[in-house]
């Protein structure tokens, strides 16, 4: 009898809606098979490696140079995106002008456009005889085959993150917040810095953080414009790809484990930070 009446704590109340078992079954199967199981492949590959071997691979000078290239490119892209993403979100929410809907739709282009297409297009545009390259190179600005091109491609693919996280928060900001600041005598600049920006800050940091994480892993958009010179314009994703093509699976896996750990940690950090901020604004609820 006791076995029959045994219930796990969360089963104590009768479920009103149907489909718990089915949806739980599908979800768990999918998450385990598609998302989690493959990660064990990486573990399997790393198991056969000693710690010193692992350390040697991930600190190989060419690999370290690729970290520097990737991180600095992603950082520059994130800063560009923070500034222009904020500007675009502001303009799209606060002003009315002809073509606004078109501009709004255009914001999602980098997410909708395949990265390889973005890659060859940017590479062509900024090559020495491309539309932009022709204009910029006489000025001494070399974009293709330099870190500038890498940052540009990263910024292109990740700009929607900032726009689309800041936009809804700005939309929800009630007019009274502006009005209260103005009624208390604040000029536009001061009011923006002290009242509006703090409201947008969590969204802006989250969006910029997501853009940064995305840029760290970007591959298709970058490799065409980067030139991929070892020690100079070689990104970490390409490093992994090159090792795979050389059948150096252990090396590829070691580097991939670093990339994976960094992205997951960053994502976790963004989530925790955001949670802390939201608790303050909503009084612990």
């Amino acid at each position: 009898m006791s076995a029959l009446s045994f219930r796990l704590p969360w089963q104590s109340q009768q479920r009103v809606l149907p489909g718990f078992g089915l949806s739980l079954g599908i979800s768990l199967t999918f998450v385990s098979l598609v998302l989690l199981l493959p990660l064990t492949g990486l573990v399997g590959e790393l198991k056969g490696m000693s710690l010193s071997q692992y350390w040697a691979i991930i600190t190989e000078p060419r690999v370290v140079a690729s970290y520097v290239t990737t991180i600095s490119g992603a950082a520059v892209a994130a800063v560009i995106n923070a500034a222009f993403g904020l500007l675009l979100a502001w303009v799209l929410v606060r002003y009315d002008f002809p073509g606004k809907r078109l501009l709004d739709a255009l914001m999602d282009l980098p997410f909708a456009l395949p990265t390889a297409v973005a890659g060859i297009t940017l590479a062509t545009l900024y090559s020495s005889n491309g539309w932009m390259g022709q204009l910029l190179e006489p000025l001494g600005w070399k974009v293709s085959y330099s870190w500038v091109g890498i940052a540009l491609a990263m910024a292109f693919t990740s700009i929607p993150f900032v726009v689309r996280t800041v936009q809804p928060v700005l939309e929800d900001l009630p007019a009274e917040v502006d009005e209260a600041a103005m009624a208390l005598g604040a000029r536009d600049g001061v009011a923006f810095r002290r009242v509006i920006l703090p409201h947008l800050w969590p969204a802006l940091v989250t969006g910029t953080g997501l853009a940064f994480v995305r840029s760290l892993g970007e591959f298709g958009a970058v490799i065409f414009i980067a030139g991929n010179m070892p020690y100079e314009t070689e990104i970490t994703s390409l490093m992994i790809f090159v090792k795979l093509q050389e059948y150096d699976y252990a090396g590829a896996s070691a580097i991939a484990s670093i990339v994976l750990a960094v992205s997951l940690l960053l994502l976790l950090a963004i989530n925790l930070w955001q949670g802390r901020f939201i608790r303050r604004l909503h009084g612990g609820r």
Partner: protein
């Protein structure tokens, strides 16, 4: 009503800056794709996209996309139903787990699949001894595509279904609705636009996935070459016009995605006004 930044000169300079940036940074590349694709005329474009290997790449991409969508649709709906309609331990964890594909570099995603299902992997080795090859073949491409596109449907549905709550479904249960009828008659009409948008995003990403697919594909022309990989091959062969002809096809799908999104948002906002 007056708001911060409403002064005419502030407004005009900010709008100009935003429009200039978007034109240069977003619109110009889009224009360039089509300009390059049609650089040698319409007939060359047609010849390029009807070329044998291009057609094969289109076929493979369509196959992978058609198989990916139903899988992720089923998963997305099941997961959204689970986490928005029931409370159970591990719910938050499950919601976090589905974001993994967003955080992982596509190359790393391809790599983990290759390590598991490739000849050296513990599953791949067993499959190999039974003469089944998943990696460097279309099933591998399908598997990584499902992986990278898995969050889209769920991510569109969860916030909406959370906001709508389960009152309507509970009312339907008291009226005797059961199981799938309940979902079809009560839930589905409320979520259909989000569901459609989730499918459109899944479609766009499935068609365009590059990094993960390039790791597991092997890029054999006419066999395991998807359209984005084909673009890369042509571009590296210095066949720029050919590469951009295929790129233009992919860009068209992107434009369709943007248009569909704008249309769906317009519909939803009109429904909200009417309500």
């Amino acid at each position: 009503m007056q708001r911060i930044g409403d002064a005419r000169w502030v407004r005009y300079s900010l709008i100009s800056a935003a429009v200039a940036f978007s034109a240069l940074f977003l619109l110009l590349p889009l224009v360039a794709i089509f300009a390059q694709a049609f650089a040698s005329g319409w007939s060359t474009f047609i010849a390029n996209v009807t070329e044998h290997y291009t057609l094969a790449a289109i076929g493979l991409t369509v196959l992978v996309t058609i198989l990916t969508i139903p899988v992720n649709l089923a998963f997305g709906v099941a997961l959204a139903w689970l986490v928005t309609r029931f409370a159970f331990p591990g719910r938050r964890l499950l919601q976090t787990l589905i974001d993994i594909p967003f955080a992982i570099s596509p190359v790393v995603a391809g790599l983990v699949y290759l390590m598991l299902y490739g000849r050296n992997g513990w599953i791949g080795g067993w499959l190999d001894s039974h003469d089944i090859q998943l990696m460097f073949a279309w099933p591998g491409i399908l598997m990584v595509t499902i992986f990278v596109t898995s969050p889209f449907v769920a991510r569109e549905l969860i916030p909406l279904m959370q906001a709508q709550g389960s009152r309507e479904e509970e009312a339907a249960v008291t009226l005797g609705a059961k199981g799938f009828t309940l979902f079809r008659r009560v839930t589905l009409p409320n979520i259909r636009w989000a569901l459609l948008y989730g499918v459109i995003l899944t479609n766009a990403r499935a068609v365009g996935e590059f990094g993960a697919v390039s790791v597991v594909s092997g890029a054999i022309r006419g066999e395991t070459n998807t359209l984005p990989l084909h673009v890369q091959l042509l571009y590296q062969d210095y066949n720029t016009v050919g590469a951009f002809a295929s790129a233009a096809l992919l860009a068209l799908i992107a434009l369709f995605t943007l248009a569909a999104k704008a249309l769906l948002e317009w519909r939803v906002s009109r429904q909200e006004v009417a309500a």
